[in-house]
Amino acid sequence: MKEAEALVHALKTHQVDGIIGDRHIMVCRLKDVEEKLESSRDQVRALAASLQSIREDERVMIAREIHDELGQKLTSLELGLSWLARKATPRRQPVQEKIGLLSALVTTMIRSVRRIANELRPGVLEELGLVKTLKSEAREFKKHTGIPCTFETNLGKAKFDRTGSVAIFRISQAAFTNIARHAHASRARITLVKRNNDLILTVNDNGKGITKKLVRSQKSLGIIGMRERALALDGTLTLRGSKGNGTTLTVRIPLSRVIIDQESVSS
C-alpha cells in the first residue's frame, strides 16, 4: 500500500516522465501531455464562449427580423381586417363573423410573434435588468406550468454587465425548462445572492431529483451548455439531486465578472 501511495505522490507532483504498459512501452512526458491537454481545454472553452456570443448575436438579429418584419405585417393585417369589419354591413353577417374569426387569429399570431421574439432576445433584460427579469421569469414559470416559484435576492440595486446578465438569464431559463420537463415538481425556488465576493444563483425544486449519471452524461447538452456559460465567467456550476429532496442547481461566479458597479451591491 505504501508503494501505491508513493506512486500516486510521484504522479501528483509531476516527478514521473512516463508510464510503461503491459504490451507497449509508451514513455511520454506526462507533464507536457497535461500542459497540452490543459491548453486544449482552454481553447475549447474559448471556442465555446465565442460560439455562445455568436448565437446570442444571431438570436438578437432573428428576434429583430421577426418583430420588425413579421410583427409589423401582422399588425397591418389586423388593421386591414378592422377596416373590413367596419365596411361589412349588418346584413352580411356571415362575412362579419368570418372577419371576426380572422381578426382573433391574427391577434393570437401577434402574441405568438412577440413571445417568440422575446424568448430569443429578452428585451426585458435590457430594459429592466437582470433582477427584475428573473422575478418576471419566476412569475411566468408559474403561469405556464402551474408550479409555484419564488424568487429571492439581496442584489436589488446591483448593475450587471450585458454578458453576465445574458449568461445568468440563459442558465436560469434552461433550469426552468428542465424543471418543467423532467422534475415532476410541485414547487420551485430561485435565488440570486451576493456571498463574500461571489454571485450565487440557485435554482431548486422538490421533484424526483436528477441522477448522478445524468449530471455526468456527455449527452446532457443542456447541462454542458449551462456549465460552459458559467466557466466562461470564471464560475462554477454544480447540480445535485436526490429522491425526495429534488434537484439543486448552484452557479457561483466572481462578482467582479458580472457586476458593473461594485458600490451598488449591498453587503
Binding site: E3, A10, Q15, V16, D17, G18, I20, I25
Partner: protein
Amino acid sequence: MLARGNLARLCEEHLKGCYEIETVNVLKDAATAHKNNVLVTPTLILIKPYPKVTVFGNLSDTRRVLAALRLIGGEQ
C-alpha cells in the same frame, strides 16, 4: 536525467564509492523493466542489501530517498 543526477550526488555524499548504479533504458530494454515490475519512469530499485526497495520519481526529495534506502532513520 534529473533522477540520475540526484542519485549520483546522493550516493557520493552518503556511500562514498561503496555502491553500484545500473541504469536501464526502458525503450531499449523493456524486458528488464517488465521483469522488475517497473510501471513508471524514473524508478529506482535498491537490489541489495535486502529487502528490495522501489522509489518513484526524480529523487529530488533527498531525505525521503535516503530514508527509503535505509541510509537514515524515518519512514521508508
